[in-house]
Amino acid sequence: MQSTAHAFKGNAARALEDRQLQEALANVPKGFVGKRAEARARLPEFDALRDQARDLKNHVLANLDLYLEEYERKVFEVGGKVHWAASAGDAREIVLSICREAGAKTVVKGKSMITEEIGLNDHLEGAGIEPIETDLGEYLIQIRGEAPSHIIAPAVHLTKEQVEADFRRLHRDLPEDRRLEEVDELVAEARSVLRDKFLAADVGITGANMLIAETGSSVIVTNEGNGDLSQTLAKVHIVVASLEKVVPTLEDACTILRILARSATGQECSTYTTFSTGPRRAGDPDGPEAYHVVLLDNGRSELLGTDFREVLRCIRCGACMNHCPVYQAVGGHAYGWVYPGPIGSVLTPSLIGVEEAGPLPNASTFCGRCEAVCPMRIPLPGLMRKWRELEFEKVPPPFAQRFALKSWAWFARHPRLYQFASGLVIPVVARMAGKKGAFNKLPFGNGWTRHRDFPAPQGRTFHQQWRNQKRRRARS
């Protein structure tokens, strides 16, 4: 997918003006945030499980080569095939050639961020194969020609009125008097359209929440059951997953499962968790006849040797974006590539370069909520700060910005002068603000004052207030 991460500022400004988007985004804190907090409160071991999950994934990353070899061997033993894709292009070609070999006309897809990352749908369409997204949210954005705006709720930026309009535009057989005002009516309509697609598809493609080295199993976690229908009904099942999804054992998978759904949707567990191990066995009445796994690197092996290795622990729950004040304000599309929110701000520069994605690690207030809720305890603000440092080296900011910061730094390093100057200026500014104690217009401060007032200083500097307070305490 073509990145617009470099244009984050413009994207964000447009998003803030988009009233329909703002209405839809109001649902994020209402749903996810509260539900996660309740799920956490119901499980006293939740935070201890997060510590274990972090240590578990660190152990996997330190031995990634060996666990991948074990995983591959087990997949082969049960009659499956593992394909190694160094780049997004390699992965696309591998998937396409499997589809061609199967004589596929249509492909049904379970939700997969990795296939978004490699731009699979466009590639298949270009080769005359129709990919059909079956996760409801993914289906909604596919028919609109959009990218997901959230990693677990791809259509969170849409309102039900927009969905109704899309269905009336695209579902040709729809009678005009059919009611599509309520969410359950819209879901029923999507269900009936997609049911036929499941039954007709030649290939089913899913992602994987985990790969199990012990048994060669791939795991998907869903609520709709669309991933299961995709992988059960088609002749060929293709799993597309990145290297770091591997975990050692079934017991280890339990640890991840216990924090995944709770962090994502606040459920005790997702409705469907499926462990798939190879193709249909002798005597099986259903299941795919062929089972392929495409293992994607796409820059992850390079990350392993850097400070950014910690993002490879991510289990894609979406908690960081649900709790992020920047994401809540601008939504996912403003981030301009596949992964939005705080995890995107760290991952995107890692995968497509900081020259392109430099604005993303700057799109943070560093409030720290993302790190506080991350089930894998990824230090997201710290990693964003590292990207800011690297960006400064590679793409130095404009002269005016550097000059302003340098001047301030010079003053800050000369405390007496700093205090003297601010002591002169602050009472003047405070008086200018008048009784209101705030400015609704500031020279060069339009970006701030357009949306809210700028509070005026209280009349004395912090240092002066501190000294006064100390003196008062000494007296009493």
């Binding site: 839809a24 649902n27 994020v28 499980l43 071991e45 201890a48 330190a62 031995n63 080569d65 060996l66 070899e69 394909h83 190694w84 894709a85 390699d90 591998i94 050639s97 079956t134 996760d135 709720a153 969170v156 849409l158 039900k160 969410v183 819209l186 879901v187 269900r191 049911r195 499941f198 012990e214 609520n223 709709e224 059951g225 059960t232 009904l233 290297l243 054992t249 079934l250 017991e251 339990c254 640890t255 005790e268 567990c269 997702s270 409705t271 469907y272 499926t274 462990f275 798939s276 191990t277 066995r281 005597g283 099986d284 009445p285 299941g287 293992l295 092996s301 990350l303 040797g305 850097t306």
Partner: protein
């Protein structure tokens, strides 16, 4: 397939090893990993998974109900046909169901509900009701464990609008880890059936305005029958 699949593999593993600063012939690491793969050490297991058999059954039921499944208890398997027949009548559903060749389900005396029409085998998407036997019920999250095979075709779990699942009370365990122990007894070390489906209620979606709706793609109704005997 890809132009040079072996190249892809060796190049990727080579890059991983360079990044980690390790070699391929790292005997110490290999021994440690093998041990981990065979030892089945349990990580932290939540305390809620411990309790008497009755406690676990109660938890299993409550969790499933909180996840919008219906739960009934019967004393013996022979009560199942009449219960299902009544359930289908009450919900205005056709009294026709499909199941696999599962030994426990086949043994049931279906003549007790003569109105029930029973078909066997996989579903092609036209069955209103599917019936399955769960190998295990996990109490910690109210989760049913269904195993693929001729006994319980996977298509029955997802295509019918109503899914009825029978589980024996004695098969209800506390934590997920107990499931793996059971499966290793049946399938052996480092082996799994083709599909292990963990199911915790009806299919649902929150993808439109975070409003939860049942029956996204799979069953709209899940009815769990716990058999005491």
């Amino acid at each position: 397939m890809s132009p040079h699949p072996r190249d892809g593999r060796d190049a990727i593993l080579g890059r991983v090893r360079r990044a980690l600063g390790v070699g391929a012939e790292d005997a110490e690491r290999r021994v440690a990993i093998q041990k981990r793969l065979y030892d089945h050490v349990r990580n932290l297991v939540p305390a809620r998974t411990k309790g008497s058999a009755d406690d676990l059954i109660k938890q299993f039921k409550e969790m499933l109900e909180s996840q919008s499944a219906k739960v009934s208890e019967v004393g013996t398997a022979d009560e199942i046909p009449e219960l299902i027949a009544k359930e289908l009548r009450d919900n205005n559903l056709p009294s026709r169901l499909r199941m696999g060749d599962d030994g426990f389900l086949v043994e049931i005396d279906w003549d007790r509900a003569p109105t029930l029409e029973i078909e066997r085998g996989r579903s092609d998407g036209h069955d209103p009701v599917g019936l399955s036997h769960a190998l295990v019920g996990v109490s910690e999250t109210g989760t049913l464990i269904l195993i693929s095979g001729a006994d319980n075709p996977t298509t029955l779990n997802f295509l019918p609008e109503t899914h009825i699942v029978v589980v024996r009370a004695e098969d209800i365990v506390g934590p997920y880890e107990d499931v793996w122990e059971r499966l290793r007894e049946t399938y052996g070390e480092r082996a799994m059936p083709r599909a292990v489906n963990m199911i915790a209620g009806p299919s649902r979606t929150g993808d439109i305005e975070q409003t939860i709706v049942m029956g996204a793609h799979g069953p709209r109704r899940v009815h769990v029958i716990v058999v005491e005997e």
